[in-house]
Protein backbone atom coordinates (compact mmCIF):
# COMPACT_ATOMS: atom_id res chain seq x y z
CA UNK A 1 0.00 0.00 0.00
CA UNK A 2 1.36 3.40 -0.94
CA UNK A 3 1.06 6.13 1.66
CA UNK A 4 -1.26 8.86 0.32
CA UNK A 5 0.31 11.65 2.40
CA UNK A 6 2.23 12.39 5.56
CA UNK A 7 -0.94 12.99 7.60
CA UNK A 8 -2.14 9.47 6.95
CA UNK A 9 1.30 8.08 7.68
CA UNK A 10 1.37 9.85 11.04
CA UNK A 11 -1.95 8.32 12.05
CA UNK A 12 -0.86 4.86 10.98
CA UNK A 13 2.43 4.93 12.75
CA UNK A 14 1.34 6.95 15.77
CA UNK A 15 2.59 10.22 17.17
CA UNK A 16 5.56 8.58 18.81
CA UNK A 17 7.18 7.65 15.55
CA UNK A 18 6.02 10.65 13.58
CA UNK A 19 9.54 12.02 13.61
CA UNK A 20 11.06 9.15 11.72
CA UNK A 21 8.25 9.47 9.21
CA UNK A 22 8.83 13.17 8.85
CA UNK A 23 12.41 12.55 7.85
CA UNK A 24 11.34 9.96 5.37
CA UNK A 25 8.28 11.54 3.91
CA UNK A 26 9.81 13.41 0.95
CA UNK A 27 11.04 10.03 -0.23
CA UNK A 28 7.75 8.47 0.67
CA UNK A 29 5.95 10.78 -1.69
CA UNK A 30 8.53 10.48 -4.43
CA UNK A 31 9.29 6.79 -4.50
CA UNK A 32 6.12 5.40 -3.01
CA UNK A 33 7.55 3.46 -0.07
CA UNK A 34 5.34 0.74 1.17
CA UNK A 35 3.53 1.64 4.35
CA UNK A 36 3.97 -1.73 6.01
CA UNK A 37 7.74 -1.59 5.64
CA UNK A 38 7.84 1.91 7.15
CA UNK A 39 5.84 0.86 10.18
CA UNK A 40 8.13 -2.07 10.59
CA UNK A 41 11.20 0.14 10.24
CA UNK A 42 10.11 2.66 12.86
CA UNK A 43 9.06 0.06 15.42
CA UNK A 44 12.39 -1.66 14.99
CA UNK A 45 14.32 1.60 15.49
CA UNK A 46 12.58 2.27 18.82
CA UNK A 47 14.60 5.41 19.39
CA UNK A 48 14.55 8.69 17.58
CA UNK A 49 18.20 9.69 17.23
CA UNK A 50 20.45 7.39 15.28
CA UNK A 51 23.27 5.61 17.09
CA UNK A 52 25.97 7.69 18.74
CA UNK A 53 28.31 7.36 21.65
CA UNK A 54 27.80 9.60 24.68
CA UNK A 55 30.81 10.61 26.75
CA UNK A 56 30.91 12.89 29.77
CA UNK A 57 34.04 15.02 29.48
CA UNK A 58 35.91 15.22 32.78
CA UNK A 59 37.54 18.58 32.07
CA UNK A 60 37.49 21.11 29.24
CA UNK A 61 40.93 19.86 28.13
CA UNK A 62 39.64 16.30 28.12
CA UNK A 63 36.75 17.41 25.88
CA UNK A 64 39.10 19.06 23.38
CA UNK A 65 41.38 16.01 23.43
CA UNK A 66 38.44 13.68 22.71
CA UNK A 67 37.20 16.02 20.01
CA UNK A 68 40.58 15.91 18.27
CA UNK A 69 40.54 12.11 18.31
CA UNK A 70 37.00 11.84 16.93
CA UNK A 71 35.66 12.17 13.40
CA UNK A 72 34.17 15.42 12.11
CA UNK A 73 30.61 14.54 13.09
CA UNK A 74 31.44 14.58 16.82
CA UNK A 75 29.52 17.26 18.68
CA UNK A 76 29.79 19.14 21.93
CA UNK A 77 26.65 18.71 24.04
CA UNK A 78 25.80 21.44 26.53
CA UNK A 79 22.10 22.03 27.32
CA UNK A 80 21.12 20.13 24.19
CA UNK A 81 17.86 22.04 23.70
CA UNK A 82 18.54 22.44 19.97
CA UNK A 83 21.00 19.60 19.40
CA UNK A 84 18.84 16.78 20.77
CA UNK A 85 15.74 17.75 18.72
CA UNK A 86 17.95 17.99 15.62
CA UNK A 87 19.35 14.54 16.34
CA UNK A 88 15.84 13.21 17.03
CA UNK A 89 14.62 14.55 13.71
CA UNK A 90 17.75 13.06 12.18
CA UNK A 91 18.43 16.33 10.42
CA UNK A 92 21.99 15.93 11.71
CA UNK A 93 24.00 12.87 12.62
CA UNK A 94 26.66 12.61 15.26
CA UNK A 95 29.11 9.83 15.97
CA UNK A 96 29.99 11.14 19.41
CA UNK A 97 28.34 13.51 21.86
CA UNK A 98 30.66 15.12 24.38
CA UNK A 99 28.72 16.33 27.40
CA UNK A 100 30.60 19.28 28.91
CA UNK A 101 28.06 20.17 31.59
CA UNK A 102 30.00 18.45 34.37
CA UNK A 103 33.44 19.89 33.56
CA UNK A 104 34.74 21.77 36.60
CA UNK A 105 34.92 25.54 36.15
CA UNK A 106 32.60 25.74 33.15
CA UNK A 107 29.58 26.57 35.30
CA UNK A 108 31.20 29.69 36.73
CA UNK A 109 30.27 33.33 36.30
CA UNK A 110 33.30 35.51 36.95
CA UNK A 111 33.70 39.26 36.90
CA UNK A 112 36.60 41.50 36.06
CA UNK A 113 36.29 45.31 35.91
CA UNK A 114 33.90 46.17 33.09
CA UNK A 115 33.40 42.58 32.05
CA UNK A 116 31.44 39.50 33.07
CA UNK A 117 32.46 36.06 31.86
CA UNK A 118 29.82 33.38 31.55
CA UNK A 119 30.96 29.76 31.47
CA UNK A 120 29.81 27.29 28.81
CA UNK A 121 27.79 25.25 31.31
CA UNK A 122 25.80 28.21 32.72
CA UNK A 123 22.14 27.66 32.07
CA UNK A 124 20.00 30.50 30.70
CA UNK A 125 17.57 30.55 33.63
CA UNK A 126 20.46 31.00 36.05
CA UNK A 127 21.86 33.98 34.14
CA UNK A 128 18.41 35.49 33.63
CA UNK A 129 17.76 35.61 37.38
CA UNK A 130 21.31 36.32 38.56
CA UNK A 131 21.24 39.51 40.67
CA UNK A 132 24.82 40.33 39.63
CA UNK A 133 24.00 40.22 35.92
CA UNK A 134 20.64 41.95 36.39
CA UNK A 135 22.58 44.78 37.99
CA UNK A 136 25.43 45.03 35.51
CA UNK A 137 24.11 43.78 32.14
CA UNK A 138 20.32 44.13 32.37
CA UNK A 139 20.21 43.97 28.55
CA UNK A 140 21.34 40.34 28.70
CA UNK A 141 18.67 39.36 31.25
CA UNK A 142 15.93 41.15 29.30
CA UNK A 143 16.98 39.40 26.09
CA UNK A 144 17.06 36.00 27.79
CA UNK A 145 13.38 36.44 28.67
CA UNK A 146 12.76 36.35 24.88
CA UNK A 147 14.71 33.12 24.35
CA UNK A 148 12.30 30.17 23.98
CA UNK A 149 10.24 29.44 27.11
CA UNK A 150 11.12 29.11 30.82
CA UNK A 151 10.85 25.32 30.51
CA UNK A 152 13.59 25.39 27.85
CA UNK A 153 15.73 28.09 29.47
CA UNK A 154 15.98 25.89 32.56
CA UNK A 155 18.19 23.54 30.52
CA UNK A 156 19.63 25.60 27.65
CA UNK A 157 22.92 27.46 27.99
CA UNK A 158 23.90 31.00 27.00
CA UNK A 159 27.14 29.93 25.31
CA UNK A 160 25.35 27.08 23.52
CA UNK A 161 23.10 29.68 21.84
CA UNK A 162 26.16 31.67 20.79
CA UNK A 163 27.88 28.60 19.34
CA UNK A 164 24.81 27.43 17.52
CA UNK A 165 24.24 30.80 15.78
CA UNK A 166 20.63 30.07 14.89
CA UNK A 167 19.37 32.76 12.44
CA UNK A 168 16.39 33.42 14.73
CA UNK A 169 18.47 33.36 17.91
CA UNK A 170 18.69 36.36 20.21
CA UNK A 171 21.99 35.67 21.99
CA UNK A 172 24.32 36.37 19.03
CA UNK A 173 22.64 39.76 18.59
CA UNK A 174 23.30 40.74 22.20
CA UNK A 175 26.84 39.41 21.89
CA UNK A 176 27.45 41.86 19.02
CA UNK A 177 25.82 44.77 20.83
CA UNK A 178 27.91 44.14 23.95
CA UNK A 179 31.24 43.41 22.20
CA UNK A 180 31.28 39.89 23.58
CA UNK A 181 34.46 37.89 23.22
CA UNK A 182 34.58 34.11 23.00
CA UNK A 183 37.19 32.31 25.07
CA UNK A 184 38.15 29.33 22.98
CA UNK A 185 40.17 26.31 24.04
CA UNK A 186 42.17 24.36 21.48
CA UNK A 187 44.18 21.18 21.79
CA UNK A 188 47.37 21.38 23.85
CA UNK A 189 46.00 24.03 26.21
CA UNK A 190 46.06 26.70 23.50
CA UNK A 191 43.69 29.51 24.38
CA UNK A 192 42.27 32.01 21.97
CA UNK A 193 40.00 35.01 22.39
CA UNK A 194 37.71 35.81 19.47
CA UNK A 195 35.42 38.85 19.23
CA UNK A 196 31.78 38.11 18.38
CA UNK A 197 32.18 40.31 15.29
CA UNK A 198 34.72 37.84 13.87
CA UNK A 199 32.72 34.76 14.83
CA UNK A 200 29.64 36.05 12.99
CA UNK A 201 31.53 37.68 10.10
CA UNK A 202 30.31 35.18 7.49
CA UNK A 203 26.77 35.20 6.14
CA UNK A 204 25.70 32.20 8.22
CA UNK A 205 27.00 30.08 11.06
CA UNK A 206 29.57 30.69 13.78
CA UNK A 207 33.11 30.71 12.36
CA UNK A 208 35.12 28.92 15.03
CA UNK A 209 38.43 27.07 14.88
CA UNK A 210 38.04 23.35 14.13
CA UNK A 211 37.97 20.99 17.09
CA UNK A 212 37.73 23.82 19.56
CA UNK A 213 35.55 24.36 22.59
CA UNK A 214 34.09 27.69 23.67
CA UNK A 215 34.78 27.58 27.39
CA UNK A 216 33.12 30.92 28.13
CA UNK A 217 31.94 34.21 26.69
CA UNK A 218 32.85 37.62 28.14
CA UNK A 219 30.30 40.41 27.98
CA UNK A 220 30.98 44.10 28.55
CA UNK A 221 29.03 45.53 31.49
CA UNK A 222 26.95 48.64 30.84
CA UNK A 223 28.55 51.86 31.99
CA UNK A 224 26.91 54.34 34.35
CA UNK A 225 23.96 56.04 32.68
CA UNK A 226 24.11 53.89 29.55
CA UNK A 227 20.65 53.07 28.23
CA UNK A 228 19.74 49.78 26.64
CA UNK A 229 16.85 48.36 24.67
CA UNK A 230 15.85 45.09 23.11
CA UNK A 231 12.94 44.51 20.78
CA UNK A 232 11.81 41.50 18.88
CA UNK A 233 9.06 40.48 16.48
CA UNK A 234 8.13 36.81 16.72
CA UNK A 235 5.21 34.69 15.55
CA UNK A 236 4.26 33.77 19.07
CA UNK A 237 5.91 34.09 22.43
CA UNK A 238 8.89 31.77 22.71
CA UNK A 239 9.28 31.34 18.95
CA UNK A 240 12.43 32.30 17.06
CA UNK A 241 12.86 35.95 16.13
CA UNK A 242 11.60 37.12 12.74
CA UNK A 243 13.71 40.17 13.50
CA UNK A 244 15.25 41.41 16.71
CA UNK A 245 17.42 44.33 17.72
CA UNK A 246 19.65 45.10 20.69
CA UNK A 247 20.75 48.68 21.20
CA UNK A 248 22.67 50.73 23.73
CA UNK A 249 22.95 54.52 23.96
CA UNK A 250 25.07 56.98 25.91
CA UNK A 251 24.10 60.64 26.19
CA UNK A 252 26.18 63.65 27.19
CA UNK A 253 25.04 66.33 29.67
CA UNK A 254 23.16 68.24 26.95
CA UNK A 255 21.07 65.23 25.99
CA UNK A 256 23.00 64.66 22.76
CA UNK A 257 23.91 61.13 21.75
CA UNK A 258 27.54 60.41 22.60
CA UNK A 259 27.68 56.79 21.45
CA UNK A 260 25.25 54.26 20.04
CA UNK A 261 25.37 50.56 19.35
CA UNK A 262 22.86 48.76 17.19
CA UNK A 263 22.89 45.02 16.45
CA UNK A 264 20.26 43.37 14.29
CA UNK A 265 19.36 39.72 13.96
CA UNK A 266 16.76 37.52 12.29
CA UNK A 267 16.68 39.69 9.18
CA UNK A 268 19.86 38.02 7.91
CA UNK A 269 21.14 34.58 8.87
CA UNK A 270 23.91 36.01 11.03
CA UNK A 271 23.46 39.22 13.02
CA UNK A 272 25.29 42.42 12.08
CA UNK A 273 26.22 45.75 13.67
CA UNK A 274 24.56 48.70 11.96
CA UNK A 275 27.61 50.97 12.01
CA UNK A 276 26.32 53.57 9.54
CA UNK A 277 23.20 54.06 11.62
CA UNK A 278 25.31 54.27 14.78
CA UNK A 279 27.48 57.01 13.24
CA UNK A 280 24.44 58.91 12.00
CA UNK A 281 23.08 59.12 15.53
CA UNK A 282 26.17 60.62 17.15
CA UNK A 283 25.72 64.27 18.12
CA UNK A 284 21.95 64.19 17.48
CA UNK A 285 19.41 65.16 20.11
CA UNK A 286 17.97 62.14 21.92
CA UNK A 287 14.64 63.91 22.42
CA UNK A 288 13.80 63.85 18.74
CA UNK A 289 12.24 60.53 17.71
CA UNK A 290 12.75 61.26 14.01
CA UNK A 291 16.52 60.71 14.39
CA UNK A 292 15.81 57.24 15.72
CA UNK A 293 13.41 56.47 12.87
CA UNK A 294 15.97 57.63 10.31
CA UNK A 295 18.70 55.55 11.98
CA UNK A 296 16.37 52.55 12.03
CA UNK A 297 15.78 52.87 8.27
CA UNK A 298 19.54 53.09 7.70
CA UNK A 299 20.17 50.10 9.95
CA UNK A 300 17.77 47.91 8.01
CA UNK A 301 19.18 49.05 4.64
CA UNK A 302 22.86 48.65 5.44
CA UNK A 303 22.57 44.89 5.95
CA UNK A 304 25.65 43.19 4.49
CA UNK A 305 23.71 40.17 3.20
CA UNK A 306 20.29 39.81 1.57
CA UNK A 307 17.29 39.67 3.91
CA UNK A 308 16.29 36.13 4.73
CA UNK A 309 13.06 34.57 3.43
CA UNK A 310 11.60 31.42 4.93
CA UNK A 311 8.15 29.91 5.42
CA UNK A 312 7.40 32.35 8.25
CA UNK A 313 8.22 35.65 6.56
CA UNK A 314 9.61 37.05 3.34
CA UNK A 315 12.82 39.06 3.18
CA UNK A 316 10.94 42.24 2.34
CA UNK A 317 8.63 41.77 5.35
CA UNK A 318 11.69 41.22 7.54
CA UNK A 319 13.47 44.34 6.28
CA UNK A 320 10.37 46.50 6.83
CA UNK A 321 9.75 45.00 10.28
CA UNK A 322 13.39 45.56 11.17
CA UNK A 323 12.89 49.33 10.85
CA UNK A 324 10.18 49.23 13.51
CA UNK A 325 12.21 46.89 15.71
CA UNK A 326 15.33 49.09 15.64
CA UNK A 327 13.33 52.27 16.30
CA UNK A 328 11.65 50.63 19.27
CA UNK A 329 14.94 49.34 20.71
CA UNK A 330 16.58 52.76 20.32
CA UNK A 331 13.72 54.65 21.95
CA UNK A 332 13.64 52.08 24.72
CA UNK A 333 17.39 52.63 25.21
CA UNK A 334 16.92 56.42 25.23
CA UNK A 335 14.20 56.12 27.90
CA UNK A 336 16.55 54.08 30.08
CA UNK A 337 19.52 56.41 29.74
CA UNK A 338 18.91 57.66 33.25
CA UNK A 339 19.66 54.12 34.40
CA UNK A 340 22.06 54.28 37.28
CA UNK A 341 24.57 51.65 38.15
CA UNK A 342 23.72 51.48 41.83
CA UNK A 343 27.24 51.51 43.26
CA UNK A 344 29.82 49.19 41.88
CA UNK A 345 27.31 47.22 39.70
CA UNK A 346 28.92 43.88 40.18
CA UNK A 347 32.54 45.00 40.12
CA UNK A 348 33.71 43.49 43.34
Amino acid sequence: MVIPGPGFADILVGAKHALSIRVLHPNVLKDGFECASLVHLSSELQMKPSIFKYVRAETADHAVELLAGADSSARILAGGQSLIPALSARSIKASLLLDIMRCPGLDEVSHAPGEITIGAACRQSRIEFSPVIQGSIPLLCETLSWVAMPQVRSRGTVVGCLAQANPGGEMPVVALALDAEFNILLRGDVRQRMPAGDVYAAEAGARLPAQSLIVSASFRTLTAGEGWGFSEVQLRQGHFALVCCAATLQLDEDGLIRSARIALGGITANPYRAQLAEKALIGESADNDSHFREAARLASEERPWPARSDLHATGSFRSKTAVAAVARALMDARNKCSWKTGGNHGRS
Binding site: M47, S88, S145, V152
Partner: protein
Protein backbone atom coordinates in the same frame (compact mmCIF):
# COMPACT_ATOMS: atom_id res chain seq x y z
CA UNK B 1 25.30 0.54 47.53
CA UNK B 2 21.58 0.39 48.28
CA UNK B 3 19.46 -1.63 45.91
CA UNK B 4 17.37 0.47 43.55
CA UNK B 5 13.69 0.78 44.45
CA UNK B 6 12.56 0.48 40.88
CA UNK B 7 12.11 -2.67 38.90
CA UNK B 8 12.21 -1.83 35.24
CA UNK B 9 8.93 -2.60 33.56
CA UNK B 10 10.41 -3.76 30.29
CA UNK B 11 13.84 -4.90 29.21
CA UNK B 12 15.71 -2.12 27.45
CA UNK B 13 15.90 -2.60 23.73
CA UNK B 14 18.95 -1.61 21.79
CA UNK B 15 20.66 -2.16 18.51
CA UNK B 16 23.25 -4.91 18.66
CA UNK B 17 26.29 -2.67 18.36
CA UNK B 18 25.29 0.47 20.16
CA UNK B 19 26.94 2.00 23.17
CA UNK B 20 25.30 1.77 26.60
CA UNK B 21 26.06 3.66 29.79
CA UNK B 22 25.11 3.21 33.43
CA UNK B 23 22.49 5.60 34.74
CA UNK B 24 21.39 6.52 38.25
CA UNK B 25 18.73 9.03 39.11
CA UNK B 26 15.91 9.68 41.53
CA UNK B 27 12.44 9.62 40.04
CA UNK B 28 9.51 10.68 42.23
CA UNK B 29 11.63 10.01 45.30
CA UNK B 30 12.69 6.51 44.24
CA UNK B 31 16.20 5.48 43.29
CA UNK B 32 16.62 4.24 39.74
CA UNK B 33 19.73 2.39 38.67
CA UNK B 34 20.05 0.86 35.25
CA UNK B 35 21.98 0.78 32.00
CA UNK B 36 20.56 2.58 28.98
CA UNK B 37 21.45 3.03 25.34
CA UNK B 38 23.32 6.31 24.88
CA UNK B 39 20.74 7.68 22.47
CA UNK B 40 17.67 6.93 24.62
CA UNK B 41 15.61 10.05 25.24
CA UNK B 42 14.53 10.81 28.80
CA UNK B 43 10.84 10.93 27.83
CA UNK B 44 11.03 7.44 26.32
CA UNK B 45 12.95 6.16 29.33
CA UNK B 46 10.32 7.49 31.74
CA UNK B 47 7.38 6.28 29.68
CA UNK B 48 8.57 2.99 28.28
CA UNK B 49 10.96 1.75 30.91
CA UNK B 50 9.62 3.24 34.13
CA UNK B 51 6.04 3.16 32.79
CA UNK B 52 5.27 6.67 33.97
CA UNK B 53 2.64 7.36 31.36
CA UNK B 54 1.38 10.79 32.51
CA UNK B 55 3.92 12.68 30.41
CA UNK B 56 3.09 12.60 26.72
CA UNK B 57 5.34 12.83 23.71
CA UNK B 58 3.91 14.94 20.94
CA UNK B 59 6.23 17.23 19.00
CA UNK B 60 9.53 15.71 20.12
CA UNK B 61 11.34 19.03 19.70
CA UNK B 62 10.50 20.98 22.85
CA UNK B 63 7.78 23.19 21.39
CA UNK B 64 4.53 21.72 22.74
CA UNK B 65 5.21 21.07 26.41
CA UNK B 66 3.29 17.78 26.72
CA UNK B 67 6.40 16.01 28.07
CA UNK B 68 7.19 18.60 30.77
CA UNK B 69 8.71 17.22 33.97
CA UNK B 70 10.60 18.76 36.89
CA UNK B 71 14.38 18.24 36.95
CA UNK B 72 16.31 19.48 39.96
CA UNK B 73 13.46 21.78 40.91
CA UNK B 74 12.91 23.37 37.51
CA UNK B 75 10.36 22.52 34.83
CA UNK B 76 11.97 21.15 31.68
CA UNK B 77 11.22 19.14 28.57
CA UNK B 78 11.95 15.44 28.72
CA UNK B 79 11.94 15.02 24.92
CA UNK B 80 14.93 17.31 24.38
CA UNK B 81 17.11 15.51 26.89
CA UNK B 82 18.95 12.25 26.75
CA UNK B 83 18.27 9.98 29.69
CA UNK B 84 22.02 10.12 30.39
CA UNK B 85 22.03 13.91 30.69
CA UNK B 86 19.87 13.47 33.79
CA UNK B 87 22.50 11.32 35.55
CA UNK B 88 22.27 12.00 39.28
CA UNK B 89 19.31 14.33 38.84
CA UNK B 90 16.19 14.47 40.95
CA UNK B 91 13.20 14.09 38.68
CA UNK B 92 9.52 14.53 39.39
CA UNK B 93 6.89 13.56 36.88
CA UNK B 94 3.21 14.39 37.32
CA UNK B 95 2.75 11.11 39.20
CA UNK B 96 5.07 12.39 41.91
CA UNK B 97 3.63 15.91 42.07
CA UNK B 98 -0.14 15.54 42.27
CA UNK B 99 -2.30 14.00 44.96
CA UNK B 100 -1.88 10.22 45.15
CA UNK B 101 -5.66 9.79 45.19
CA UNK B 102 -8.51 11.95 43.94
CA UNK B 103 -8.03 15.45 42.56
CA UNK B 104 -5.92 18.06 44.27
CA UNK B 105 -6.77 21.76 44.29
CA UNK B 106 -5.08 22.58 40.97
CA UNK B 107 -6.75 19.66 39.22
CA UNK B 108 -10.14 20.61 40.66
CA UNK B 109 -9.73 24.15 39.36
CA UNK B 110 -8.80 22.80 35.91
CA UNK B 111 -11.94 20.67 36.00
CA UNK B 112 -14.21 23.50 37.17
CA UNK B 113 -12.87 25.91 34.55
CA UNK B 114 -13.11 23.38 31.71
CA UNK B 115 -9.41 23.88 31.13
CA UNK B 116 -9.09 20.60 29.27
CA UNK B 117 -10.92 18.64 26.65
CA UNK B 118 -9.00 15.66 25.31
CA UNK B 119 -6.50 15.91 28.15
CA UNK B 120 -3.41 14.97 26.14
CA UNK B 121 -1.58 18.21 26.94
CA UNK B 122 -2.93 18.53 30.51
CA UNK B 123 -0.17 16.65 32.39
CA UNK B 124 2.33 19.12 30.95
CA UNK B 125 0.26 22.14 31.99
CA UNK B 126 -0.13 20.73 35.50
CA UNK B 127 3.61 20.18 35.94
CA UNK B 128 4.22 23.79 34.90
CA UNK B 129 1.52 25.06 37.29
CA UNK B 130 3.03 23.11 40.20
CA UNK B 131 6.44 24.65 39.38
CA UNK B 132 4.92 28.13 39.21
CA UNK B 133 3.25 27.63 42.59
CA UNK B 134 6.57 26.48 44.03
CA UNK B 135 8.18 29.70 42.76
CA UNK B 136 5.23 31.72 44.21
CA UNK B 137 4.57 33.48 40.92
CA UNK B 138 1.86 36.10 41.28
CA UNK B 139 -1.26 35.50 39.12
CA UNK B 140 -0.84 38.96 37.53
CA UNK B 141 2.88 38.59 36.81
CA UNK B 142 4.03 38.80 33.18
CA UNK B 143 5.90 35.56 33.87
CA UNK B 144 2.58 33.69 33.79
CA UNK B 145 2.28 34.30 30.04
CA UNK B 146 5.90 33.24 29.55
CA UNK B 147 5.37 29.94 31.32
CA UNK B 148 2.10 29.25 29.55
CA UNK B 149 3.64 30.00 26.15
CA UNK B 150 5.61 26.81 26.75
CA UNK B 151 2.52 24.67 26.16
CA UNK B 152 0.29 24.02 23.19
CA UNK B 153 -3.33 22.90 23.51
CA UNK B 154 -5.23 22.02 20.36
CA UNK B 155 -8.71 21.72 21.94
CA UNK B 156 -9.68 24.40 24.41
CA UNK B 157 -8.38 27.62 23.10
CA UNK B 158 -6.35 29.13 25.86
CA UNK B 159 -8.95 31.29 27.62
CA UNK B 160 -10.09 28.60 30.07
CA UNK B 161 -6.55 27.41 30.77
CA UNK B 162 -5.41 30.97 31.39
CA UNK B 163 -8.28 31.50 33.87
CA UNK B 164 -7.65 28.17 35.59
CA UNK B 165 -3.92 28.76 35.97
CA UNK B 166 -4.41 32.23 37.42
CA UNK B 167 -7.05 30.92 39.81
CA UNK B 168 -4.75 28.07 40.86
CA UNK B 169 -1.90 30.51 41.50
CA UNK B 170 -4.21 32.81 43.45
CA UNK B 171 -5.57 29.93 45.53
CA UNK B 172 -2.06 28.73 46.33
CA UNK B 173 -1.04 32.25 47.39
CA UNK B 174 -4.10 32.57 49.67
CA UNK B 175 -3.27 29.21 51.16
CA UNK B 176 0.34 30.06 51.92
CA UNK B 177 -0.69 33.49 53.31
CA UNK B 178 -3.26 31.72 55.52
CA UNK B 179 -0.63 29.28 56.72
CA UNK B 180 1.68 32.08 57.84
CA UNK B 181 -0.92 33.83 60.01
Amino acid sequence: MAAPDWTLGKPLRREWDESQTALRMTVNGKQVQTVVADRLLLCDFLRDNLELKALKVACGEGACGACTIVIDGQPARSCTLLALQAEGAEIFTLEGLNAPEGLDQVQQIFQQQHALQCGYCTPGWLVTVYSMIKRSIHPDSPEVAQYLSGHICRCTGYRNIWTAVRRALGAAMDESAGGEK
